[in-house]
Symmetry: D3
Subunit: 234 residues, 6 copies
């Protein structure tokens, strides 16, 4: 089985980290291939960047000519997810979507932790886009940028622990979701310290993609996800 | 006052029709300028095309350098709407959004009429994206393509009348919304025949944009619609 | 075009202020006429007063004998709005309704600021009546009466600024709506100070009414808003 | 215990029938008093009539000077219900509200049967006003006027049976609610024929009012239902 | 009329208190009989205990062989409620359900007060199971166990007063519901001190059961609550 | 890795089929063990049977003394799921839950196909219990009993094809979920014939359980799913 992980931003080093994270979540015989956006932005913050990311996702899927069993969109806004499904036959999973679906059987309500306050509304949108708002307790920002979090994992861990604790005691969450790829390395620390499951999108999505393929399931080609109509491009 | 109408597809003839429709809905002193997508697709059907349209919208807004008082996105999926709001200071209105907001004071529940069955899920998505699903009775497809509808307005009018009548008698709608720009010329016929208001997106959005500017209102620059962060493009 | 602004309370001085506010939001050729409730209460606080206001609205609409293109109900509970629609052919817009519809394209979620705590549930009701609860972050009371707010605009501005800031930082709002006519004169101050759009109902509703008429739209006469059946009155 | 049944229309013969229906639902020691609207309309169809009915309810409650333990508003739109609660100390129950609350423990989802199609949207409104839309399967109209239904109970029974059967087989209802006082005498016939509980508002509301008083419960006087503020009436 | 109160836990002393509470809420001619779970747990905290309680409820209903006019399930999670309805012909009411239905006509939004934090999610579930989440302001825990609350009513009263006050001032509640049988004796104290209605489940449910029987209503035997199919038990 | 599949009914032959189905969905190194209910009913239809099934699930989990990495509850009502989570440390997944979560990335809206009409409300309940009603198009019954479906797979396939086609064309579904274990063998036929993904619960849940364990995730032990309190059993 071959699962492609599409990084909608142009930073190849992030793609490698994502592919590593994905590989750890699947069985030995499954191939996980990372693909970096060929154009767009170096990191995705907010709606404008997501449009560029969605465009890059569509290009990447088209260039693959269907040579994959499942695809994962590796950005927490799930940019281009529905478009990728129109183009693909196998399952396509977004990392925000898979995080929510993985969090749901583990607790009653999840909270999403992200970096900057400006990132909260796009995450609220993606929660509602997937129709799971009923199961979400809150979306909280740590106030750190992706770069600050990357540069100092201890500061990131501390910030996540602080906001995660508030999500549990003030918002009623019993599961946490990391709404930002950069926070990966501190997942286990936070999970251990707070005593709740902490879900990270890339492994959750890669494992889910593998499971769907194993069950013989593909993307619906009826109604919304039919292949695109012939069109004039420029 | 200067309102720009951005056509997210590359067909300039459609832009002209849109600008004409917009002009009829504003007061004499207001300038309405149509802008055609510089790249992308000739017409927008489905999620893949909407991603290309969103990309074109972002490019168009950036090239305007803020030289407008309000902007209207002229495609019923409202592609790139949130991204355009990050970039703009004045109000930005989508034609799907404005259609719903105009329909709401005119009746209890609206139905949207569109062309092909595949267009129904994206319209259900945009209804939910704007949070107005409570006010929507149904989304119905006529089964005609945009081209078929364009080529034979009588056939289009008949199809809209038939589905509009079902929306009223079977789904409980008392207002209809045209979910397709090509259907414009038959609006008055359907409104007269079925005796319910029939909302067309471009004039509704242009009038709403003018009204918001008159009230001294602009796009929020707090949280979700803050200007994009500095980034590396490629 | 002739738009009537119906003040559901009996205070003529307020009607004049409303008509002035409405006039500033429409184009030069549009006539805006204020009408004061012929009976009822001097100001409307709570459900009991709204019943009297709704009754006055119905009387006012009946006495107009259809001599208007659109009507606006100028009280934040939108009293008598549905009844007025049964009686009218042109569009009828409530100021609460129009505030919500104007706030929606400007941000992700709006908060309503009102006077007394007792006014919060009726406003929550009108939000839900219009089916826009999904877009509302909160309803907050300043604790000031209408009279206190009127007598000392500085105190009112300060209170609105304080509650508006909480709405933004604690409740996740990025647009504010003034849920009380008396707060009009401080709108620009709050908008400037907090950096978010602040929507005032009367101009928003008057501009919306003008736009709907320009688009050739009228109240639906199918199902819920059909003209009243013949009846015996006493 | 003294329960007042307020008929919001001016037809005294209906008040007598309501009081009889209410008496059959309470224990022997409980006094049930019918009160007819002192002004307004002979029967209530639609929003305009409900405004007049709400006004009459407010007048009736004020004239009672609190000399009752509980009150019931006997019109299926529950006109003036919230206003009556501001004025009263004891519980005030609407017959639509009580019908829904009685239907809920008897099945999974209820359907409301009413007379004319124009009555459907106001009933959808009152369902949503009470926040029980989740439990409602549908609202269906028989197409008969109140007078037609009154004049020929056999025709009414047949129409209710027909629409009730559709509600069960097509809409998924397992409880029916009669959304019209005139249909009372055929309740038992429909219940027996279709084999589902058929709820009638006046007895359901009167029994509920008695139960609330027995439990020592009164209307909340905090926030929304506080007594009205001092005001100037005219 | 004969109403059975089924205590899903095995503590007979609690059954007696419940029967006393139920008797005070019905008219003199109505017989109220308490039945204690024949097997299961001494008190019900959390999902595991509710499964055992549901099992005991089913056994109790089966042993009654239909010799009752209505039944009440006396545990705030309403365990086994739907199963009991399959087995019974008369109405079956849960005390959580009846508390919500009684709270709704008394105010705009209710809050539920319970003992431990772990009890909050099961109560959120039962609110949603009955479809009344729209009317709920919050669920709050006092932090006391049932035993602590029982042993020291003053401490319980103080804790309920403290959390009830927060529910009113911070969460927007205007009615309180006691989500725990042990708190009964302090109901009147809290109601008097906070000035809002405080609903206790057992009397509310018993009064509602009596009212439904008086109205000639029984459990629906169509679709979901049909009698169980023949089966092989072991 | 060791995954236990708990069959809440007492029919061991069904347990074997479930274990086979589960094994086909996981990687070679994963052990899948089927466990049959030690007491209860031979097959589960409706709420009464689900209570017995939930009881059997609790007993089965307790007897396992934690010797498993994840557990799957193999009955479409997910009986005892929350209770099992209180008792378990590893993930516990219900087959209804997993079917919904697997269906969501494959299309816009799923429909569930079940046997008898009486089974529809319990399935609507479990959809709502998991908070995914937004993504569900409909629940449809074929009218066949489990035994009829088992005895004649051709009849079952035909019935599923017929109702599945209606779900797609009339209800707007683009994914189907089999709400009944007996329908397993016809899944591929229906998927091929109708051209939409058809999800079967046991493999979907087993694959999801394996994925969650691979991601290092366990059941939350905070708030709702804490281990049960010490109690007195009888």
């Amino acid at each position: 089985m071959r699962i492609v992980l599409i990084n909608p931003n142009t930073t190849a080093a992030m793609t490698d980290e994502m592919a590593d994270a994905g590989r750890r979540a699947v069985s030995p015989g499954t191939e996980v291939v990372g693909i970096t956006a060929a154009h767009g932005v170096a990191s995705i913050d907010g709606y404008h960047d997501e449009v560029l990311g969605a465009h890059a996702v569509v290009s990447a899927i088209e260039e693959l000519h269907g040579e994959f069993d499942a695809a994962v969109i590796c950005c927490f806004g799930d940019p281009g997810l529905e478009a990728a499904r129109e183009l693909a036959d196998g399952p396509v999973v977004g990392i925000a979507e898979a995080s929510f679906l993985a969090a749901m059987p583990l607790g009653r309500r999840f909270s999403v932790l992200t970096t900057l306050d400006r990132g909260v509304p796009p995450i609220e949108d993606v929660i509602r886009r997937h129709g799971v708002e009923e199961r979400c307790a809150s979306v909280r920002a740590t106030g750190l940028t992706v770069i600050e979090a990357d540069n100092d994992p201890d500061v990131a861990a501390e910030a996540l622990e602080r906001e995660g604790r508030k999500a549990i005691t003030e918002d009623g969450a019993d599961v946490l979701v990391l709404g930002c790829g950069a926070m990966v390395e501190v997942r286990e620390y936070v999970q251990r310290t707070l005593g709740v499951p902490v879900v990270e999108g890339v492994p959750a999505a890669t494992a889910m993609a593998e499971g769907l393929v194993r069950c013989g399931l593909r993307t619906s080609k009826v109604r919304g996800y039919k292949r695109p109509e012939p069109n004039v491009y420029s």
